[in-house]
Amino acid sequence: MLIVSEERGDDRECVVLRAEAIRSLLVHAEPNMMLSALAVLVASGASTTKIASSVYNTVKDALHDLHEICDGDLRNQFMKIMKDVFQRVLSSSYIANRSRSRLVAFLGSDKTKYTKEDEEAIARHSTTMDAAYEFTSYYVDFLTSLLQPGSPHSSCVTAIDMIMLLCSAGLDREIFDPAESKRVVSTRRVVPDILNGNTVQWPFQISLATATIRQLLLENLFNPYEDIRKKVFHFLQVARPFSRLEYSEILQILERDLNRVSQSGRESDVDGFSKLVVIFCIYSGEKKLALPLSSQMPLPDCNSTHGISTWLLNLLKQEISSLHPGARDLRRSRNLILGTLSALA
């Protein structure tokens, strides 16, 4: 039997469900049960209702188990619930920020004139915003940890989807601004829009293109699972977290990953390299940048996307011309040719 506590308000009865009461269900062995409990915990009639700190803490404790759900349908359900959660985080923090700003503007800068109620109201709005920021920041760090090599497939997939979701919500406007989504995503809506056409903006920003996240995304471009590689590729195409990269960094990445292909020759690495080249082609084409010369792999005088393909073609010619029956490192050349051809395709 399920029990909810009943409390009496000032003038009428109200039924209250405590966040603590549902904690045990969030670590249930059945994923269905976990998701139902999470849905109850975060459900609200209005998306602007603030989320209590006890709810944040309860969700935080259950995040690890929730991200390990393997079933695809259940994972979609989880994504939907988390979308609602962040809709509330966004809306409530936006409202709190706006109310606080209006109150402060109305009261003026002289804090000695503030009444006790004013101070309490300002503190309440600040607490709402701080709690929202703290939870979102914690969640982004948590997602970053799930991108580490060796993470289970389900955790990694969910983490990439969630990063895309937060990105589409404009949590890091430097890499994706929903207001400009039509310009960025020209022909089709690639990223699900958490804001549902709303122009509400986060009162705070959290970077989704830190060096760690970028590094981990690139690593996952070479993930053994094809769906993860596709997801990362899709994300990198849309969100462009590499817009802050220096030229030398791009070159380093290309060289490093080409070496990876030439050494392993795995299908996943070849596929990852071709995707990486496409991403940098798009990026360099947009920025109209030319790739610098490399000491080991000389580049022609090239510009933008044409430059990368010319570079690859030259590399291919160079490798093919070095092939002869007595060549010492045939395997390396074969892998390199395979990777280059795949990237050119």
Partner: protein
């Protein structure tokens, strides 16, 4: 002559709704609604048999379906005949159920609620069937003088449906939110208590049982509708 015309219109609506495009579906729905309005004008007179005859055409399709997918027009008819609308008298939910029960042969008395719910398993009908179910329950609740028996009439079939394959998920998706919104807070508390949610001011933990998932679904709907609240210092129900 009028009876024949009624029959033709009913058959036309039933036959074409399933395969019609959106525009034709809307036109057929409007035709059905207008025709019901016109026929309802005869309710108090001796010609009310015309309305019953028209409705029976649709109900018979549902009765004969044996769980197979039926035309959406059946549910649109149920929904519009019981929906309160200014300017025309409605058929009571009890009358509609009696009419449906009259289709049974011998001692077999079919349940309209059960047969509507069985159609939720067909994806194309799930939305319309759930709307018809909720409209019927809403009408029944607004008419019933004794709440308990009326609750059994729709709650028992719903419980059977939920216990069946995919029943909880379908009920969760299509029935519960609109049902509790229509029936109101009091009915919500009655139903969740019937389904095992106990209210106790001193206990702050949840206990498990076979129905926990259903109970959680109900609690979620309750929170969304504002019947149940989280424990925030300032979030007091007004």
């Amino acid at each position: 002559m009028v009876d024949k015309l009624t029959s033709i219109i009913a058959r036309t609506i039933l036959e074409y709704t399933a395969s019609a495009n959106r525009a034709l579906q809307k036109a057929l729905k409007d035709l059905q609604s207008s025709f019901l309005t016109d026929l309802s004008a005869y309710l108090s007179s001796s010609e009310s048999v015309l309305l019953e005859s028209f409705i029976l055409h649709f109900l018979r399709v549902l009765y004969d379906s044996q769980g197979k997918c039926v035309s959406k027009a059946v549910f649109l008819m149920i929904e519009s005949i019981v929906r309160e609308e200014k300017g025309r008298p409605q058929l009571s939910a009890e009358s509609l159920m009696d009419l449906y029960a009259s289709l049974g042969k011998g001692s077999d008395s079919p349940s309209l609620f059960e047969d509507i719910l069985s159609q939720l398993h067909h994806k194309s009908n799930a939305s319309s069937a759930s709307k018809a179910f909720v409209a019927l329950v809403g009408r029944l609740n607004s008419q019933a003088t004794i709440p308990k028996p009326s609750l059994d009439i729709w709650c028992n079939p719903l419980e059977v449906f939920i216990a069946g394959t995919d029943g909880r998920q379908l009920a969760d998706l299509y029935i519960l939110p609109s049902l509790f919104k229509t029936t109101g807070e009091k009915c919500y508390y009655t139903v969740i208590e019937r389904w095992g949610v106990r209210r106790d001011p001193d206990i702050t933990h949840l206990e498990f049982c076979d129905q926990t998932e259903l109970q959680l679904s109900c609690l979620k709907v309750g929170k969304e509708l504002g019947y149940i609240i989280g424990i925030f210092p300032y979030q007091v129900k007004m």
